[in-house]
Symmetry: C2
Subunit: 339 residues, 2 copies
């Protein structure tokens, strides 16, 4: 009964493309997941052929796109000036119904622009939002909006909550996610004007638990943390940066003494397992929600495993019909949600 899942991959995007994209595509592909590998076929074909012995190989199809967008370009402008770039063509396969989602590890701004322009917004969605998966003491959580919009209105936050909740259900597998509004005090009435205006709208969302604070992100107090794209992007980058900083300080401190170095060797496997467990790339990057297809944006530095994970995330979202459910839900309450 399930239709075959097809996901498009921007084969040219990311710091280590096309090697990791081709490998990740083959790793993820199988009878239930077909991959459209989009990019310059002269570049991609020999790399794909080299993996012909791997079982996923025959479920990967190259879609030619002669051009590519570089990380130094302005994303939105490049998407307009390069209609034959790999990221644009990947999003077009979704628009044309050939794929249900698209993945890129390239330029975030370009992927967002390409997805918005070519997949187009779901009717009723005022602003697509970026959902990112973050580790917490209570497992993975989702933060939305992680930077699609620098300024938000209260209704946008309400829509982000709806989108984040469906994402947490469909992709994180939490049937009844708790939803929190990121603010600066748990009491109602605290927080910015935006928060105060958004709170009554958020109260309509099932599972809404009220305000949460910055420290509730690592605590996992809410499965879905709703915020504007400015605060969300600051929080995302600070969270990533804190982990980098603490691990590097710890490495430096431990290697200062011989005893410390020995201890460091002994804990290395445990710490490695912990880092793998907390790595949000296991769940596969950031997802632009609110467009007519799943648009997954991976870390530019991602490995083949990260590529495969991002493809699996997109596939899971497609199977769980996150986009259709989102369209249905946002269409159901036009009164409170339309501008």
């Amino acid at each position: 009964m399930t239709r075959e899942t097809v996901i498009a991959l921007d084969g040219m995007g990311g710091d280590h493309a096309p090697d990791v994209t081709v490998q990740g595509a083959v790793d993820a592909a199988g009878p239930n997941l077909h991959i459209l590998l989009v990019g310059d076929s002269d570049t991609l074909a020999p790399r794909l052929d080299a993996l012909a012995a791997q079982p996923g190989h025959r479920f990967v199809e190259i879609v030619h796109a002669p051009d590519k967008i570089f990380s130094t370009e302005d994303g939105a402008r490049a998407v307009r000036s390069k209609p034959e770039s790999s990221v644009v063509v990947a999003c077009q396969t979704v628009r044309d119904g050939r794929a249900q989602g698209a993945v890129s590890l390239g330029h975030t701004g370009a992927m967002m622009a390409a997805a918005t322009l070519h997949m187009r917004r779901i009717p009723g969605v005022q602003r697509p939002g970026i959902a990112v998966v973050l580790p917490s003491r209570a497992g993975f959580i989702v933060l939305i909006d992680a930077g699609a919009n620098a300024d938000a209105r209260p209704e946008h936050l309400q829509q982000f909550a709806i989108m984040g909740r469906l994402f947490a259900q469909g992709v994180l597998g939490d049937p009844a996610p708790k939803v929190g509004l990121l603010s600066i005090g748990e009491e109602e009435g605290r927080g910015s004007e935006l928060i105060q205006q958004a709170t009554p709208l958020l109260r309509e969302i099932p599972g809404f638990i009220g305000n949460v604070e910055g420290r509730d992100i690592p605590r996992g107090t809410a499965r879905v943390v709703v915020t504007d794209g400015f605060t969300g992007n600051v929080a995302l980058k600070l969270y990533e940066g804190s982990a980098e900083f603490l691990f590097s300080e710890m490495r430096a401190a431990v290697t200062e003494t011989l005893i410390g170095r020995i201890g460091g060797l002994l804990i290395r496997p445990s710490v490695g397992r912990m880092r793998d467990r907390l790595d949000p790339e296991a769940v596969g990057g950031a997802v632009l929600l609110g467009v007519r297809g799943l648009a997954v944006i991976g870390h530019g530095s991602g490995s083949a495993t990260a590529v495969a994970n991002a493809l699996h995330t997109a596939a899971r979202g497609a199977r769980e019909q996150v986009v259709d459910r989102l369209a249905a839900e946002l269409g159901e309450s036009p009164g409170s949600l339309s501008t």
Copy 2:
């Protein structure tokens, strides 16, 4: 030539008051730093007497304040209804010129309200801002505003930059601090409307390096990170929470195996030294800038050492005349700074 430094301490504020406050006062006090220990004298006197053998003892004077504010109360309201509470009386000693600064480990909202109401704003300051000291790869940095105001206007951000810069010079000892505006992309023109309007105003500040991102906080790219109180408070609490989370996950991972436990024991001293080095309490809590006196807000859970550090921070700020320099600087450019 230097006048004697006198700092008032809210003896009743904090989770472990009055024990840690009395001890911290005696630890910090000396010929160059007199402490006014404010609170119920029946409670404080016997505890202070018990430390009579310690050298700092004779530089601590009790100032009676019969009342106290509890952490469950609404801060602003309690400050008005309890004029004889320890935090209010501590701030009044600054207003009356008996002390140059006040320290409380109690209710943040109450200390802010008491400082604003009783020390009063420096003429020309539109909004006092909370400066917090945070660890980074490049040493301690200051984030301002960490939550005094939930909403900010561009001129407020400019004033926070001026205040943060003077604080970094006077308290962190950086003669030429770099100043960054927290945003969601390093390129100009990115960021919220607030950021775009504030950028030209920030360009007037010496040492301004443009936009910084969330990850630049742990990297220490700027010595002074300027932001609105909403984003700043989210960032502060997320940064604290990330460290708690990563240390607890690491402890859990390491203790899963016997080898890990042995390794954990071996690295413990190194990690302890690292945590001490990164502990912002070494620099002493958050400071409300923009009022006519130094108002230092310590962590409620702080130890006697944290109390002493907060007192030293206040004293250092007083000796460096941070408040006078702030008044001079904000008075100098009334054209661009007044409402």
